[in-house]
Amino acid sequence: MSFRNTNRAWGSLTKALHWIIVILIINQWWIAERAESLKGLEKLQALAWHKSFGMTILMLAVIRLVWRWLNPVPDLTSETKPWERGLAKISHVLLYALIFAMPLTGWLMSSARNFPVSWFKVFQFPDLVAPSETLFHRMNDLHHLLFAVLVVVAALHVAGALKHHFIDRNDVLKRMLPFGGVK
């Protein structure tokens, strides 16, 4: 497996970024769910982890987008129908947009609530806006709404991958698997 993408296969860096972000997003959801029922110090700490992981996703998203621009994108199979290509394109654009928009709305929320963002206590991100309760509530709603959109688009993405694998019986799913793949 090469480090870079080719016209037929995803490189190891793309795969690593894809799966690390998947794991981090699931972890984010789990921490956020848990934080809802916590209070005081425990909630503060849970949300500190959520913010640190969220900013990690944002930084990985930047690397991922740059890497996509610098690399060829393996094509879908020749049998893939235009409507499938269209749907794939839309969901991929949305997924990329969401891995930026989720952390950014989270960061805005934190700034608006005067709870600045630290990255695992290693360094602190600057505040994006001055404290504002109205803005906090707006960003909070948006953050939750975007998560709902993410769940729907991710489900579509998984459904598409499974269709390629089990119905069309092509390599589209296999070529993104960590150690599987296409030569």
């Binding site: 110090l41 700490q45 600045p116």
Partner: protein, 191 residues
């Protein structure tokens, strides 16, 4: 009767004269005016966060010519704490942190000022916070303004020494022990 009055007036003149002689320049009393701020910076989960006390009062006795004779008295209304978040403000005034019900005010009292090695001025006094009194030297910069004086400076205290943080909050994992304090007080001459 007339003589008596005159002698009384003379005595008064003499007395005031005597007072002036003993304390060459009586230190003026200054009180806090609008535009003053008392802010603090605390490390919350690795991020420096800011807050303020919106209500506090300051009284300063200060004479530029002999700063050591001055005094400073600051009273802070704990319930006026403002971290721009209602939930956090309520948590802060709660029993485990400032316990504003039991300890509604914090007070700093200094009855003398000293010169620091660097040539600056500092108040030599005591801070009472959450019922705990500790010695604390406050660096002060006092400059004249058109309206009077401006007193400013910054220091740092350890919140746990004053018991601000009981139970879970004794841990410094969420909120660091050291809290930085910044003050800028606008003062006008008391009448």
């Amino acid at each position: 009767m007339a003589n008596y009055r005159i002698s009384l007036a003379a005595a008064a003149v003499l007395l005031t004269g005597a007072c002036h002689a003993s304390a060459a320049a009586p230190a003026a009393r200054w009180i806090q005016a609008p535009g003053s701020s008392l802010t603090f910076t605390f490390d919350q989960a690795g991020a420096a966060s800011k807050g303020a006390f919106r209500q506090f009062s300051t009284e300063l006795v200060y004479d530029e010519k002999s700063p050591a004779t001055g005094s400073l008295n600051v009273k802070v209304q704990i319930a006026s704490i403002d971290t721009q978040d209602q939930e956090r403000n309520e948590m802060l005034v709660g029993a485990d942190l400032f316990d504003a019900k039991k300890f509604p005010t914090a007070q700093y009292v200094a009855s003398s000022f000293a010169r620091t090695a660097a040539g600056g001025l500092e108040a030599v006094g005591k801070l009472t916070l959450r019922g705990v009194t500790k010695e604390l030297r406050l660096p002060l910069k006092i400059v004249p303004t058109t309206a009077g004086l401006e007193l400013s400076g910054a220091t740092a205290i350890k919140r746990l020494e004053y018991g601000v943080g009981q139970g879970d909050w004794q841990s410094t994992e969420g909120v660091a022990d050291e809290v930085k304090i910044q003050y800028k007080v606008v003062l006008t001459k008391a009448k």
